[in-house]
């Protein structure tokens, strides 16, 4: 039998290199008995430029903002914000029903709805008294 060749095992952070114009969008997250809702602000990103992914229990939201500077002869007088890419990732708990996640974009705001699975919903357990 052939001898197993040693394989070099490297552990390094899998985080991808983010460009200088990548922003972490501001989010609101709230929970109701039925679902979790993530609301992320992505001004300048249209519906087709936003992507939401669930992979190995990680929810990733990404968006590309389109912000066009007016052409010549316009000159910059004051710049208070810039466009770029939005990127943020969240670890999901097991109680989320991953197949029923839905997302929508309106007015530069992304809303991701994460319904809880039946097992994840809180249940009131009745305590029986013994007669």
């Amino acid at each position: 039998m052939a001898k197993d060749k040693p394989v070099k095992v490297e552990t390094k952070q899998a985080a991808r290199e983010l460009a200088d114009n990548t922003f972490s969008p501001l989010v609101d997250i709230y929970e109701t008995p039925a679902e979790l809702v993530v609301i992320a602000e992505m001004p300048g990103a249209a519906r087709e430029d936003v992507s939401v992914q669930v992979d190995k229990g990680v929810l990733t939201v990404e968006g590309a903002a389109k912000l066009e500077a007016p052409p010549e002869p316009f000159g910059e007088t004051y710049l208070g914000f810039e466009a770029g890419t939005y990127f943020r990732a969240f670890a999901l708990s097991d109680e989320i029903d991953r197949d029923k996640i839905s997302a929508s974009v309106a007015n530069g705001v992304l809303t991701v709805r994460l319904p809880k699975s039946e097992g994840g919903k809180s249940r009131k357990i009745e305590i029986k008294t013994q007669d």
Binding site: F23, D28, E41, A45, A46, T77, Y78, G108, V109
Partner: protein
């Protein structure tokens, strides 16, 4: 040059926030971390100027167009509005709240006088673009140089 005046919502720490944001950017631990947004005066604006027009871009994600109020007084452009909070309910539990809500006002002193009747404001994907054509008296005028016969 454009000068910014305090609106009715005076924020004495705005300058520090801006500095904090800049330092944050410089001191970012690594390039694997994304930059944070916000921190300065709200809403953030970009001002561009051409010989005949001023263009203002304003970031107002999540603000309903009907809640925005843009007005002009002389050379001062005022952007007022309100960002409605998420409806509160008893069984809603907030885990994170970064977006903020409430009323805002921002005043921008324009570089030149503009035609108040010809201002156009559009809103797309949370960014409002305001186009302000300059008043005729502010536009450059070509002056003919006449030779004097000797």
């Amino acid at each position: 040059m454009a000068i910014f005046r305090w609106g009715s919502h005076f924020d004495p720490l705005a300058g520090f926030r801006q500095l904090h944001r800049e330092l944050d950017r410089l001191m970012r631990p690594s390039f694997t971390e994304a930059r944070r947004v916000g921190g300065g005066a709200y809403p953030p604006v970009n001002v561009y100027e051409a010989p005949g027009e001023v263009l203002v871009q304003c970031e107002v994600a999540g603000v309903d167009p009907s809640d925005l109020d843009v007005s002009i007084t002389g050379e001062t452009l005022t952007i007022k509005g309100q960002k409605r909070p998420l409806p509160e309910a008893e069984d809603v539990k907030f885990i994170r709240r970064e977006r903020g809500s409430g009323e805002f006002t921002r005043m921008i002193v324009l570089p030149d006088a503009v035609e108040a009747d010809k201002i156009e404001a559009t809103l797309a994907d949370g960014i409002m673009t305001i186009r302000l054509p300059k008043a005729a008296s502010e536009q450059p005028k070509q002056i003919e140089v006449k030779p004097i016969g000797r």
